[in-house]
Amino acid sequence: MTPTTIETRPIRPGGLKLWLERYPFLPALIIVVALLALNGAFSPNSLSYRSLTGLLSTYMALIMLAIAQTYVVSAGDIDLSAGATLSLVNVVIVVLMEKWGGGASAVIGAMLAGILLGLACGVINGIVVAALRLQAIVATFATSIFFTGLALYVMPVAGTPAPALFWRSYGGRLLGLPFVFYVLAVLALLLFVLSRTRLVTQLLAVGDDQQAAYQTGLPVVLVRIKGYALCGLFSALAAFCLTGDTASGDPLVGSKMTLYSVAAVVLGGSALAGGWTTVVGSLLGALTIGLVNSLVFFMGTPSEWQNFVQGLAILLVLMAGVLAGRRARA
């Protein structure tokens, strides 16, 4: 028998892999920086303070919605009703603010109602998917039809304006800084606090291996419902940003945004199968979609080709996101 030599060198993950493990949103960040550079190359004006602020306030709603989606994806679920929840909250707060006079107290009251409504939509989804054990894709599609119906009941046609106080604040400045910066700061704080909570860890545990999570004693059904509730909450926040940006109510405004929110989650480097997600990545993923859209515009693409080039570019970045994310996890 030949003596076996024992390899003494410890097996350590490579430098890049370690970085990706610690900061899974790095690929998304690189893509965002590259897109910013390209935007700047085609139109230096697009990198001005003013246009970047504009980009942020336009895409803040999608950022919020992508973050909302991230929490359900963490647990291995998906929410195809996020956009419909956004529409519902949008029309309800616009109607309430108008009804209550459009003053400061009306705005705050309506926003509180909006948050409760978003949470309620999320809990309904959670019960349907986790407690009644329906398949998430089809069940949340069914609830999205229901929520859209409710939104149409509240406001049959688009166009009721939001009070000036609301959208002037959102688009305006506070202490010399654009208001969206404060929104971003509060969002960052909120995400930081949430990342420290037990719930986010539990969501990831359920998404990674539901059976294992159950056997370690986690209340899997409750955790998934909470995940959907969190998704509803952030969908309501997305609705606030959207209302601030468009300054009006539209019962169908969010329907196109649902699939973009899923795309943003994947772009950010999260795994759709669950158990491995990054909210910062989703934020960057939503920005990627915004930057691709503006880049296609600034490149001088003929108008009829813009959608096609956007679609193609997003497909390519989606593939890149999946491949990079897999490298990080492998």
């Binding site: 195809l80 349907v128 009644l132 054990r133 329906l134 398949q135 894709i137 089809v138 069940a139 599609f141 069914a142 609830t143 999205s144 039809i145 229901f146 929520f147 859209t148 119906g149 409710l150 939104a151 149409l152 009941y153 049959p156 539901q210 059976q211 159950y214 056997q215 899997v220 059904v221 699939l259 899923v262 795309a263 994947v266 759709l272 199968a273 108008s303 009829e304 080709w305 813009q306 959608n307 096609f308 080039v309 956007q310 679609g311 193609l312 997003i314 497909l315 989606l318 593939m319 999946v322 491949l323 897999r326």
Partner: protein, 318 residues
């Protein structure tokens, strides 16, 4: 007694019972709903959905989160291509069929390659492809007029062909027989079930898993293309995003047919009943005199209620 219960719990039986119940409900709400003419009309609409759902069904049966979100885009694209190729002339029908099938197969191939070679999850790959297809529709639409259906095609879809039944329903029946044969009697079909229920075991048993993942997406693209062609015949001319509605409703038809989204279990006969069930439900909601908001709410709630009848997930056990 238990045999009766297990018979009733079969998805196909559930769907058929629900179809009868809904037809009775429709007849009582608006007399004439279940007349022969009306049922034929419902069958035509259901066949369009059913053809899209056939491809969706194969993709879903193949497992590994198999799903095709791009079918709606292919339906719209195919309707436009067909309209332009035939442009109102019967002589253009055959070239149109070939062009549509080629387009459907091409985009299906791209989906399949992305899913196998790059191992992109099907949901992501087909979602991205949907964006590309929607962009392509805008390009085509701005370049050329939308085109008209040939009279022969319209007659095939809307006029009786044999025994008083329109050609498209015969086509749907033929597709149903073809699917039953393919899934149950061919090596290809058996391999799809094998991969869908346990990919690793299938691989160990020598199933060419990679190649087998591309096929279903191409089939899905081609069925969506056929549906787009027939949809053009149904509506006369194609309009913006005609196919969009088929994206999620084709998945729901598959689920109502008793095919599990996890793959490996189910079949197309149930899906046909599922498509018919969905169309009858929509038909009832359009006859009932309520406004759009109420209609949507009832539709959403009924879908949820119906889903409770089908294979719910298993409860967690230690």
């Amino acid at each position: 007694m238990t045999t009766v219960v297990s018979f009733i719990k079969q998805p196909l039986v559930i769907a058929l019972l629900l179809i009868v119940a809904l037809l009775a409900l429709g007849e009582s709400l608006s007399p004439g709903f279940a007349s022969a003419d009306q049922i034929l009309r419902l069958l035509i609409v259901a066949s369009l959905l059913g053809i899209v759902a056939a491809g969706q069904n194969v993709v879903i049966l193949g497992g590994r989160e198999g799903i095709d979100l791009s079918v709606g885009g292919v339906v719209s694209l195919s309707a436009i291509i067909a309209g332009n190729v035939m442009n109102g002339a019967d002589g253009g029908i055959l070239p149109a069929i070939l062009a549509c099938l080629a387009a459907g197969a091409f985009f299906g191939l791209l989906n399949g390659l992305g899913v196998t070679l790059l191992r992109i999850p099907p949901l992501v790959m087909t979602l991205g492809m949907l964006g590309v297809l929607q962009g392509l529709l805008v390009v085509i639409r701005n370049g050329i007029p939308s085109g008209r259906a040939a009279p022969g095609l319209s007659a095939f879809v809307t006029q009786p062909l044999a025994l008083g039944i329109p050609g498209i329903i015969w086509l749907w029946i033929a597709i149903g027989l073809f699917m039953a044969f393919m899934l149950n009697r061919t090596v290809f079909g058996h391999r799809i079930y094998a991969i869908g229920s346990n990919e690793h075991a299938a691989y160990m048993a020598g199933v060419p898993v990679r190649r087998m993942r591309i096929g279903p997406f191409m089939i899905s693209g081609m069925f969506a293309a056929i549906a787009g062609l027939c949809l053009l015949g149904y509506s006369g001319s194609s309009f913006a995003n005609v196919g969009e509605q088929y994206m999620l409703s084709s998945i729901i038809a598959v689920v109502f047919g008793g095919t599990s989204l996890a793959g490996g279990k189910g079949g197309y006969t149930g899906t046909m009943a599922g498509a018919l069930l969905l169309v009858i439900l929509q038909g009832i909601l359009t006859t009932v005199n309520i406004d759009e908001s109420g209609r949507q709410m009832v539709f959403g709630a009924t879908l949820l209620l119906l889903m409770l009848f089908y294979g719910r997930g298993r409860a967690m056990r230690a």
